[in-house]
Point group: C2
Chain length 208, copies 2
């Protein structure tokens, strides 16, 4: 897995002109950072007398965030894998009519696949934000800045992934399908904004 490399090596590959990892995979990684920060908050809450009442709930959040984090780690790889067929499709010949048609058909499918993975990243990140909301309300107040940082990371991951939907849908010939994907993506961006607005002001109030 890509994120099993040293971070400095991952950064080096991200910096290079190689096709992968790109902005989509990096967004999944930053989403995983957001989930990890949420987990930190749960770990700073669990076992504290002051928060004994909510301990059961916080433990469940920890478990959920752990699996969301691990999903996002896997999605970093999946994003790279989804880019490969697209990268190959670009290189297909288009000299004869038959080749042109085949290339167009293969490109269309590859664009769809390459756009679908960042949508999955967005869905997963929204679930992370949902857990962060509860942590902002019920988690240890001493760790509220980490809820805030997690939120900021999640929003960047969400919108970063969205850009990687749009670059693919833009080139799709099947506009109906592209429009559907774009609409769902815009909806998720709006949902993220709402969630952030709901939580971030409260977090800032506790910090400043």
């Amino acid at each position: 897995m890509m994120l099993e490399k040293r971070t400095t090596d991952f950064l080096e590959e991200l910096s290079s002109g190689a096709a992968v990892p790109g902005g989509g995979g990096a967004s999944a990684a930053v989403g995983a950072f957001a989930a990890a920060l949420g987990m930190m908050v749960t770990n700073l809450t669990i076992g504290k007398k002051k928060y004994a009442d909510v301990e059961g709930e916080i433990k469940k959040i920890r478990d959920k965030l752990a699996s969301l984090r691990d999903e996002l780690v896997i999605l970093t790889d999946r994003d790279a894998a989804a880019f490969e067929p697209l990268s190959k499709a670009y290189g297909l010949p288009k000299e004869t009519e038959e080749q042109k048609e085949a290339k167009e058909r293969i490109m269309e499918q590859a664009l769809y696949t390459a756009g679908k993975v960042p949508m999955q990243i967005m869905e997963t990140v929204l679930k992370v934000m949902d857990q962060l909301r509860t942590l902002g309300e019920k988690g240890s107040r001493l760790a509220v800045s980490d809820v805030g940082v997690g939120l900021l990371f999640a929003q960047a991951a969400l919108e970063g992934a969205s850009l990687n939907v749009f670059i693919n849908t833009k080139m799709m010939k099947n506009r109906e399908r592209a429009d559907e994907m774009n609409a769902r993506t815009e909806e998720m961006i709006a949902q993220g904004h709402r969630l952030k607005e709901e939580i971030y002001a409260g977090v800032l109030e506790k910090i400043k």
Copy 2:
């Protein structure tokens, strides 16, 4: 160095209840991701005929981003190092008047140090954003989504670091010094917002 670990191990440590790494160090790491994405854009621009006119400038941007990225990798460690004296200061005894005074003095210095490093992270991230601005204008159009993702990451890193200034200045007794740090931090947040607004709309326009 922390980021010389596997990313999955870094995520595991971030998830734990251990004192470091925390939100400040994670912000530096996400800032390094932003710089790496900018470098990717330079590497996809350099050597392309279409961009031959700006090649010299783009190469300079690559060099600048490489050193900013490496600086941010180091700042992840520096943030952890700055937290250590604070963590120790909390544990100091305060039974006698003398001990109380000593603890207060040491705490004050430790809070200052712990607040200063995230300010350095912010300054470095703003420099990354500045380079991304030029890349959005002059870099390969094919990689403009990566400029966008870089910007989103940079803004999250900038604001994430700011929260780690505020949690420290909040507890400082020297309010004059705390207010100065807060004012500079707010100024940097505003600068980041301006930079993002200037660039992001143009990026989106090219993508959608």
